[in-house]
């Protein structure tokens, strides 16, 4: 985690910061979702508590805390309490492996009669060499919290909802995996940081021995993988159990799916996990297809040079650079999250057989075709 005490503790604080950021984004998203629903359905949404109803979130949190803690008779206590806690882990582990900004440097300084060497921090929980594989591995653990909740509640609706949810998640994981293979093929790396680096500058690629450069477009993945980007978005809707794929909690059939028996803060933890998956999915979409934290026409090095001209070389400029890119990344994420919300209030829910058919008979073949096409064009254009 680091060479000396300061680095270790700063890295630990960074991890905690990213986790708490995810937790804090959830009430904001809930507010956005409710206001958005109001906007889409031509009504007001929460607007009483505080300006624009923003402090509604605080009131909700307090309400969740004050709720009675109860456990149904039939529930298995360990699993019933373990599931909501475990629901937080996959999303937060995955989120911390996504780069939120470029490196920033703290130059060497002396303090307390000790010399503290120069540090280099990256705006990311931890840098994983095989980033995508790590994220896929962390995300594949999400099924367990659902199964634990469904089984631990001792309720047949919960169990049915859990089995539906896990079936759905694993079905769409295939299409997701195949689109990610195509992404990996384009970039030739597993590391998300390298992917972001590769998307810098204007769109330019080697096509049958000629270098093609298009100046008015950024070098983003979406121009290489348009079908893949769409498939990825659709599959991530299903992975995070959002409408139109929220069959696990189809009220008409299953009450509330695997969290039928949950209430109060336990429910809230599930909520955080679910929204966390949404955030991870949008961050991944941005990183794969929309240039990550980079600005479209200004690379992070150029921006750093501009800052260094204004503020001189040192901590200020590199920190400002990192924070600017952090803000850019968050802005991009919020656009994608708005798509999630907009789709939720626009499209109706599928039927379960339609859902599975879409996953296996439409998305999987399309993802396969996309991969084959990508590989063929790639190899052909590089050899001839």
């Amino acid at each position: 985690m680091g060479a000396d005490f300061l680095e270790v503790s700063l890295n630990a604080l960074k991890l905690i910061f990213f986790f708490l950021m995810m937790v804090q984004m959830v009430p904001l998203l809930v507010w956005l979702e409710r206001r958005g629903a109001g906007f889409i359905q031509d009504r007001l949404g929460p607007n009483r508590v505080g300006p624009f109803g923003l402090t509604q979130l605080l009131a909700d949190a307090v309400k969740f805390l004050m709720k009675e803690e109860f456990i149904p008779q039939k529930a298995v206590k360990f699993l019933f309490y373990g599931a909501p806690i475990f629901a937080l882990i996959p999303a937060s582990l995955a989120l911390c492996a996504i780069p939120f900004g470029p490196k920033f440097e703290i130059p060497a300084f002396s303090f307390w009669g000790r010399h503290w060497g120069p540090y280099e921090f990256i705006l990311q929980g931890y840098e994983v060499g095989v980033g995508i594989v790590f994220i896929l591995a962390a995300a594949s653990l999400a099924v367990y919290s659902i199964l634990m909740a469904g089984w631990g509640s001792g309720n047949k609706y919960s169990l049915l909802g859990a089995i539906r949810a896990s079936s759905q998640i694993i079905s769409y994981e295939l299409a997701l995996g195949l689109t990610i293979v195509a992404v990996v093929l384009i970039y030739g790396t597993f590391s998300l940081n390298e992917m972001v680096t590769l998307q810098r500058g204007p769109l330019s690629f080697e096509f049958f021995g000629k270098m093609v450069t298009i100046d008015f477009l950024p070098n983003w993945g979406i121009f290489y993988q348009p079908i893949g980007a769409f498939l990825f978005l659709a599959a991530s809707f299903a992975e995070s159990n959002r409408l139109p794929f929220d069959l696990p909690e189809g009220e008409a059939e299953l009450v509330a799916g695997f969290h039928t028996e949950y209430g109060g803060f336990k429910m809230n933890l599930f909520f955080i996990g679910e929204y966390g998956h949404m955030i991870v999915a949008s961050a991944l979409l941005i990183t794969f297809y929309f240039g990550g934290y980079e600005l479209p026409f200004l690379t992070s090095q150029e921006l750093l040079a501009i800052y260094q001209e204004a503020f001189g070389v040192g901590l200020t400029s590199s920190l400002l650079n990192a924070l600017t890119h952090f803000a850019v990344f968050m802005f991009k994420i919020f656009i994608v999250l708005w798509i999630f919300i907009h789709v939720r209030w626009t499209l109706p829910r599928f039927r379960y057989d339609q859902l599975m058919e879409l996953g296996w008979k439409t998305m999987l073949p399309w993802a396969l075709g996309n991969l084959l096409l990508t590989a063929l064009i790639y190899v052909a254009s590089k050899t001839y």
């Binding site: 890295n11 991890l15 986790f19 805390l65 004050m66 009675e68 803690e69 109860f70 149904p72 008779q73 806690i85 475990f86 937080l88 882990i89 937060s92 582990l93 929980g125 931890y126 994983v128 594989v133 790590f134 001792g154 309720n155 047949k156 609706y157 049915l160 089995i163 539906r164 079936s167 694993i170 079905s171 994981e173 295939l174 995996g177 195949l178 293979v181 195509a182 990996v184 093929l185 030739g188 597993f190 009450v255 028996e261 109060g264 803060f265 933890l269 379960y352 057989d353 599975m356 058919e357 296996w360 008979k361 999987l364 073949p365 396969l368 991969l371 084959l372 590989a375 190899v379 050899t383």
Partner: protein, 121 residues
């Protein structure tokens, strides 16, 4: 892989969730009630069934998922090193090799669709 960081984060998250649940359980007032702690059945009396029948389809889906998942995972090392294969002049060779593998994959998928193993009625 930065294992210490990963485990630190996992530990912190677990602790965070546990503490929140603990605090919530201390703050909220508790009124015990026999009916309240019954299994939720939309207000109807709880009906005990010997076994809840779950369609065999779910389990078939999981089996097929395992098989296709493995096949997809085999593609990752190839995809990541396609550039190196191209640099060595092995581009078409590796593409054809993987293409045969993918053809077997597609044949399997086609068979599953044709044999109605993936149909939900």
């Amino acid at each position: 892989m930065p294992l210490p960081s990963v485990f630190f984060l996992a530990g912190f998250v677990t602790l965070f969730g546990f503490l929140l649940l603990f605090v919530a359980s201390k703050i909220g007032e508790v009124v015990r009630d026999r009916v309240k702690s019954e299994t939720y059945e939309c207000g109807l009396p709880v009906e005990e069934k010997v076994d809840t029948k779950i369609s065999i389809k779910f389990y078939l889906t999981a089996i097929l998922f395992i098989i296709f998942d493995i096949e997809i995972i085999f593609l990752y090392p190839w995809a990541v090193s396609l550039k190196e294969f191209l640099a060595q002049g092995l581009g078409w060779y590796s593409l054809i090799g993987v293409g045969i593998f993918l053809l077997i994959f597609i044949f399997g998928l086609w068979w599953e669709i044709k044999s109605k193993a993936l149909d939900w009625e």
